[in-house]
């Protein structure tokens, strides 16, 4: 017995070591990223989005044509080794036009989504946080605006501000904040009653600190997911507006406008519609599945 006892030596308690975190802690964002990486579909979507964004920047300069130069000798040429996607009815190179259009479409999608979010967070946040008269008015206004179809509302605004890229962005921002403000208000109302808010308040945090340090970080996941859902919506709406002839004005071009021009020649030169339609659809698809994946990754309810 003596022998075994000697083999064990009492080394005392090392409190410092006990408190040490031996593994790196996994924060909210790195955890979300880890989960997103496991979602193959979402990663495919992300890769396609990145490729399209890079091509929107550099695609046009890969060929010797630009999106507005006409070549009346080569009109309506099917895709070949010189014109990779063929040419349109005015002899413009479709490869160059597709990527120039991507630039406009993606910009409209991103900028208008960010503007909608900013407006929505401001209005919805103030309405939800402070409540009272402002909240009441905002909610009644959103209820009324909700009963005009989104696109009809956009069309009405565009008749006042004109056609073109910037008016489209303005019109989307002015209509899209409604849904965003509602979402943010709901989130704020929910979070406001939680214990960590009470704790922060009882320690004397100011309203600004409460909003900036506690409310916004807690809503970030929901907001980012909504943002990725708003981008395809805006691209879709832009395509619709360009299709009915009040969207992006020539010589500028967008995917919607290309599809519109292609649809006119559909019966004779189907590739002119099929090519832009392919890019709109795959971009939509990628944004959707990436948004879905992001939602799954950021939703704390799914954490285990």
């Amino acid at each position: 017995m003596e022998n075994t006892l000697n083999k064990f030596e009492h080394i005392g308690k090392d409190i410092e070591q006990g408190e040490n975190v031996s593994r790196p802690s996994v924060g909210y964002w790195s955890d979300a990223w880890r989960r997103l990486k496991q979602n193959k579909l979402a990663m495919i979507g992300l890769v396609i989005i990145i490729i399209y964004v890079i091509m929107a920047i550099f695609g046009e300069s890969m060929v010797s044509f630009n999106f507005r130069s006409n070549d009346y000798e080569n009109m309506n040429i099917s895709p070949n080794s010189v014109h990779w996607f063929g040419t349109d009815a005015l002899g413009r190179d479709l490869w160059a036009r597709v990527w120039a259009g991507a630039r406009i479409s993606l910009m409209i999608g991103l900028v208008s989504a960010v503007m909608q979010m900013t407006l929505g967070v401001l209005v919805g946040g103030v309405a939800g946080y402070f409540g009272g008269m402002f909240d009441l008015i905002v909610m009644r206004v959103t209820e009324i605006l909700d009963s005009i179809p989104f696109l009809v509302f956009v069309i009405l605004i565009m008749m006042v501000v004109g056609s073109g890229v910037i008016p489209i962005i303005i019109a989307f921002a002015l209509t899209g904040w409604i849904a965003m403000a509602r979402l943010v208000r709901g989130q704020v109302l929910q979070l406001k009653e939680q214990e960590f808010m009470l704790a922060a308040k009882s320690m004397g945090a100011s309203s600004f600190r409460l909003i900036a340090k506690h409310l916004i970080p807690n809503m970030a996941g929901v907001l980012i997911v909504t943002l990725t859902m708003k981008i395809p919506q805006a691209i879709f709406a832009e395509a619709f507006l360009s299709y009915i002839g009040i969207g992006v004005m020539p010589p500028q071009t967008s995917w919607g406008q290309l599809a519109n021009l292609g649809a006119q020649n559909m019966q004779v030169f189907p590739y002119q519609l099929l090519i832009p339609a392919f890019f709109i659809s795959t971009m939509m698809l990628s944004l959707q599945i990436f948004g879905d994946g992001l939602r799954d990754a950021l939703d704390p309810k799914l954490r285990k």
Binding site: E143, I144, L145, S147, I148, P149, F150, L151, V152, I155, L156, I157, M159, V160, F236, A239, F240, Y243, I244, G245, I246, G256, A259, N260, A263, M266, Q267, P270, L273, A277, I280, S281, T282, M284, L285, Q288, I289
Partner: protein, 309 residues
């Protein structure tokens, strides 16, 4: 329940008046004057202005405008000389309504059905097929679907008539093109909703009581899962409504959407404001119907008179 109905009715009327007000001021914000055409003699311009009350102060104009709307008078089209917006609406609305209702019925029934099948066969072939259709439906713009259907099924294979809207066979392609987006949304939603319901306690207890599989699915799962879908059906009426703009254009259907697009292209202000108002009234009434319908489907609302979230 009756208090709830009255409350909702008042809210609907207020909403429509507010929309009319918004249109009134948006139109006044538009650059230019619809009657300052140099070809038109000045006294006629003045008479036109007097007819619309444009020579009167703003508050009086507004009063007349609202009075006309209450009477149901939407004014004259600027593009189609001598035709009132009302007559254009009565001519074209039946086409749009027919197409819209067909698309709504098709997309609702098919969407819910596909969602149910996908949820019951989760992870199997049917689920995958349904979800691929659903994702394609939300990713491909309706004008692309419409053009492709028209090209392949009508022009190439001659299975359907290319355009116009005169027989049941004519309605199939436009209905499908218009409804596919909504179908996709509803199928996805129904699937999620069904899968949410499966893990609830009342399904477990129904199972524990020894209910048969089909009873469980029909009486408990589907009935509960369909509730959130009904709300979305109401919201999708707006999507279908604006969807008709392009579908009517592709298939040459003489409906409201076509006039709306033409109105925009021709800057026909009375037409745009009149049609927008019609859209708003239509949308508000469908939302009202859906809300009231919700009360009948969900007993919790019937009791409390409020919509519980």
């Amino acid at each position: 329940m009756s208090r709830y109905v009255i409350q909702r009715l008042i809210m609907a009327v207020v909403t429509i008046l507010a929309v009319a007000t918004l249109i009134f001021f948006l139109i006044r914000l538009l650059p230019g004057d619809p009657f300052s055409d140099p070809k038109v003699p000045e006294d006629i311009q003045l008479r036109q202005k007097a007819y619309y009350g444009l020579d009167k102060p703003m508050y009086e104009q507004y009063y007349i405008y609202i009075k006309n709307i209450v009477k149901g008078n939407l004014g004259y089209s600027l593009r189609y000389k001598g035709r009132t917006v009302n007559s254009i609406i009565t001519d074209s609305f039946p086409y749009s309504a027919d197409l819209g209702i067909r698309a709504l019925i098709f997309s609702t029934i098919a969407g819910i059905f596909m969602g149910i099948i996908a949820a019951l066969k989760k992870g199997k072939g049917w689920d995958n097929i349904t979800m691929i259709i659903a994702i394609l439906g939300v990713s491909v713009p309706s004008f692309v679907v419409g053009s492709l259907l028209q090209y392949f099924l009508a022009v190439k294979f001659k299975l359907f008539p290319v355009a116009q809207y005169t027989s049941t066979l004519h309605t199939i392609l436009p209905t499908f093109a218009l409804g596919i987006g909504t179908l996709a949304t509803l199928a996805r939603l129904m699937r999620t909703s069904m899968l949410d319901v499966v893990s609830t306690d009342y399904i477990k207890s129904a199972k524990a009581k020894g209910l048969k599989e089909y009873q469980l699915t029909w009486k408990h799962q589907i009935r509960n899962a369909i509730l959130p879908v009904v709300t979305v059906v109401g919201m999708n009426v707006a999507t279908l409504l604006t969807g008709t703009f392009v579908i009517e254009n592709i298939f040459a259907i003489p409906g409201l959407g076509k006039y709306y697009v033409l109105g925009i292209q021709n800057l026909d202000y009375p037409m745009i404001s009149g049609l927008t108002l019609v859209f708003a009234v239509f949308l508000v009434s469908t939302q009202l119907i859906v809300d009231l319908l919700y009360g009948f489907i969900d007993p919790r609302i019937r009791v409390s008179g409020k919509r519980g979230d």
